[in-house]
Each structure stands twice: as structure tokens, then as C-alpha cells.
Symmetry: C2
Amino acid sequence: NRELKIFSGNANLALAHEISAYLGQKLGEATVASFSDGEIRVKIEENVRGADVFVVQSCCQPVNDSLMELLIIIDALKRSSANRITAVIPYFGYARQDRKDQPRVPITAKLVADLITTAGADRVLTMDLHAGQIQGFFNVPVDHLYALPVLLDYITKKKIADLVVVSPDAGGVERARAFAKRLQANLAIIDKRREGPNQAQIMNIIGDVQGKNALLLDDMIDTAGTIVQGAQACADQGAREVWTACTHAVLSGPALDRLQRSCISQVVVTNTIPLRGKEQVCPKLHALSVAPLLGEAIRRIHEDESVSSLFA
Amino acid sequence: NRELKIFSGNANLALAHEISAYLGQKLGEATVASFSDGEIRVKIEENVRGADVFVVQSCCQPVNDSLMELLIIIDALKRSSANRITAVIPYFGYARQDRKDQPRVPITAKLVADLITTAGADRVLTMDLHAGQIQGFFNVPVDHLYALPVLLDYITKKKIADLVVVSPDAGGVERARAFAKRLQANLAIIDKRREGPNQAQIMNIIGDVQGKNALLLDDMIDTAGTIVQGAQACADQGAREVWTACTHAVLSGPALDRLQRSCISQVVVTNTIPLRGKEQVCPKLHALSVAPLLGEAIRRIHEDESVSSLFA
Ligand SMILES: Nc1ncnc2c1ncn2[C@@H]1O[C@H](COP(=O)(O)O)[C@@H](O)[C@H]1O
Ligand SMILES: Nc1ncnc2c1ncn2[C@@H]1O[C@H](COP(=O)(O)O)[C@@H](O)[C@H]1O
């Protein structure tokens, strides 16, 4: 049988170690460092000939360095005769640039998909893609996991009464609906409208949040503008307490400050992107681990078992 | 006739402007910026449909950001129906990782070549590749220019008496030989040897530098270790004055300090990589412009003329 090996770049070493621990093994030894001029230096420090190799690397900040690390590690593994290389990308960066929403812009998510297979990835394992369509940007098999079970488990244990799941925009309704269904909670949707040019945006909540505990759900928090505005709209409409749950904690620019000053009680995220001490600046942050989910998916891919039941 | 357009990333805007000026036109308008989370944001701000487009971008520090900018700009141009896209890469980064010199390392120069064509480049124009073999990593036409005429012109005008051209290592002999021939100067080679393990390296100069003005020639200066050691060896062997000429001014880590404290009189480089004020810290630096050379090559490629006479 082909041996299972896990390697990691520097984007999320803690998660890679957790995944390895779940699988009862040690992380593969590799040097992933930089030369003096910033060029990435990679050396695989153990034999991988014929092995079934998984490379764990989120495309998180610094995003271009993380992506290049992933590509160069894959190149090194390929040239070291690994039997199969799976790129495990818990957070898939550049996912928001997934269509031409104006003339003469790139479709960087498709470019990134092409770069990953060009480097030599035979398959991809990822989580909560910003748009499911990104799976189709690849011509290799993609296993797409949802953090939903992990978030759901945490929220269920909190036993929050009178819960209503809120989608912060029209784009997130399907995700929120799936969540609400599992929690047997109601659904609400925030509809942002501008009545005319130069008029302030109006937050209209479709559904009832009055006297309820609102849980705002999204795939990622970046600058936290949308989620904080949405939370305020819920509070204005009489919500009792406002919670948020988002898979990917991008948290750039003013995010921590905005979240901390907002009416949100708790910001539940996962560890697809490492917090690196951000929870000290913003104690509302609470990260759940997706390591068991990713570890189990890796085990099943390695054993040629179906991964789809992990979505149940 | 297809229109000629020049675009640029942020790696070397000054050079791109100079090239455009040589060609008597303005640089194409494009936004190349970043989102809050560091992802690169590109928009081509003018029509390029059917145009013959050249993208000027050196793969210099921050190298991964520069490379990703190049790839994303190419993707945007391709999706904007440019007729042909030429990647103009005055400094080709990751060129030193061009072979497996130990087990289980990547060949990143080949990976980078693949990334550039995957993004959509139809051809490549570059200068003084660390190894000429890198041309073969591409399956599209590569025009490979030498900065030699620019360096030669400067050195000739200096009318340095009793000049001997010195190669800092065995790998650079061909380059130094071509230079010496044009200058009708003698050639010397530095041969570094370690007599045994844990013994200091001995610098042996093959050829005569005694009482001569030595010109050390290399394709790039990175940390400046090699060139400063070589310069000292020349001085120790009785060279009168020591000069250096190198195409690519990578200048990372201790480079500026080492050069400034060395016995080298002047460090002649080109602007394939921008100095960005380094000449203030190290006034020995003197940058020559390769813009006319690149501009002329672009004009000829656009006119379907031969570029090879630029090597004469
Ligand atoms: N890293 C980023 N940060 C902020 N906005 C982005 C980023 N990448 C892409 N976008 C923009 O986000 C929009 C798509 O987001 P969405 O409608 O949520 O899918 C597009 O207009 C993109 O230009
Ligand atoms: N950016 C870099 N900085 C320093 N050394 C490098 C860099 N990239 C590759 N190398 C190493 O340089 C050696 C090749 O240099 P050379 O013999 O001059 O072609 C190899 O051992 C590489 O691992």
C-alpha cells in the first residue's frame, strides 16, 4: 500500500500538525524557508517515492507567498517521485475574483486553479469555497468540505433559545438556509438597497428578528464591514443578542477594531486561517478546529473511500 | 496593423515608463493595486482588443508579489482579447533554482516558466538569464538580450588603462570572455578551492592582475559575498583598482554594507531592478539604463523584425 504522508507550508503549520495528530502520524519533514532575497527555498527532507502525499497550505496572508510556497512544495514533491499529490487548501484565496463583474478584469480564482495543477497537484481538498463554481475551474478531482458540521455542533451545544439564522446578503441565502434547517431555526435575509445615487444604503431585513437571538452566517469575515452592518441592522430591528459564525477568519484592515466595537456578542470562526494572536486584540473571536474534518477526509481519500458522508 | 501597447506591474514602473518613452508612446493605463487582505487587484483601464501587448515586470523583491502581479495582469489582458501578449521580464527571478543540485528540491525556474505560459503569455523577452538553458524551459518563443552592449559602452568611455576582465567563478567564464574580447582586454578567472573539510577557502587567480585594473563581471549581485571576496583576491594579488559590472542589482541582506566597505571603486549595474534609493546608502553604485535596448527589441518584435542584431 502507498504510504500516507502530510507536508505543510508556513501558512498554517498548527492546523497541519493537528491534522497529522488526528491521523496518528508526524508531519513530513521539509524545509520551507527563504533565501536572502525573499525567494522561497524548499527541500523535502524525507523520502516520498511512491507515497500518497497531502500538502496542507491555506492561501492566507501573505497570500502570494503562501500560494508560491504551495506551488514550489508541489513541484519538489513531484520531482521526488511522489505517487499522488493532493493540495489541501483549507482557505482558498483569490476566490472572490471568480468572474468578470466588470470589463478587463482577471478571473484570478481560475488562474490560481490553473497554477495549482500546473505545479503538479493531482487532486484538491478544500473547504467552504466562496463560490461552489470554483470546483469547475479545476480539471482534477476536487473534494469540497463544509465547516457546517463543526459550527453547527458548537452552536447546538450553546443551546441558544429563539434562534434565527441571518444571511448578511442575498448571496449567502443557501448557506444560511442549510444551517437554519439543521438547527430547526427560522431564516432571515438582509437586503441592502440604495434608493438613489449618493443616498445612504438601507438595510432591510426580510424575516423576523424582533426579540430573537440572531446568528449571522457567512463564509468569511474580511474587513468585517458587511457583517457588522448586518449585526447593527438586526439590533436596530430588536434582536436580543447577535452572534456570527464564519468559516474563514481573513480579518484584514479594520476588522478586529470593528468587531470589537460592534454589537456582536461572539464571533465564531474556524482555524482554516490561523488567528496568530488576533483573539488577544478581539476577545470576541472564538476559533473551532476543522482538523478532525480535514483529517478524516484525508484518511478516506487515502483509503479510496467516499468523502461525501462527511457532509451529512 | 495591430496596435503596440505597453503595460507594467509595480516592480519596475520607472523602467516601463522609459521604455514607453523610447517608443514614443504612453504607458497603457491599468490599476495594479491590492485589496485590504493583500490579494492583488488588477483592472486594465483601456481597450486592448486585438492589440500587440507587452507587459514589463521584473521578478524582483518582493519576488512573489511581483510574479503574481505579472501573472494576473497577463490573465486580465488575455480575457480582454489582446491579440498577443509578450511578458517582458528584465530580471527573471528564481533563476538560480534551475536544476536539482541535491535530492528532493524543486526546479523553481521551470515552475515559474510554466506559470507564465499558463497565465497566457505568448512570448517572453528577458535579459541576462542566470543560465541560458532557462530559455528551453519555455515552449513559447524567448528573446534573450544581453546587457553587454550597455555595460561595454560605459566601460569603453571610461578609457580604463591596463584592463583585465575577471570572472568571479568558473560559471561566469563565458560571459567574461565575451566582454574581454570586445574590450581587447585580458581575461582572469577566480578559482575557489577548499583544500580539505573545515579549511578556509583559498582564492586562486588564474591569469595576471598584478598592476592592472581589474573589472569583475557577473550576471547579478545578490548578497555581494562572491564579488567582494573576488575583489579582495584581486587586490591581494596586486591589482591597481577593482571595478565590478553586473546586470542585475538584487542587493539583498548585507550587500550594500559589504560593497561600501570593500576595495571596489565602482559597482556598475543596470536598471533591470530599480535601486529605490540604495545608491544613497552605497554611492559606489552606478546604474545604466537598459530601456533603449528593451525598447528597440520590443519595436522589432512588434514589427516582426529580427532581434538578434541587438547582440552585435
Ligand atoms: N481580496 C478581496 N477583497 C475585497 N474584495 C475583493 C477581493 N477579491 C475580489 N474582490 C471583489 O469582490 C467582489 C466579489 O465578491 P462577492 O460578490 O462577494 O463574490 C468583486 O467585485 C471583486 O472585485
Ligand atoms: N535566491 C537565492 N539566493 C541564494 N541562493 C540561491 C537562490 N536561489 C537558488 N539558490 C542556490 O544557488 C545555487 C545555484 O547557484 P549557481 O551555482 O550560481 O547557479 C543552488 O544551490 C541554489 O539552491
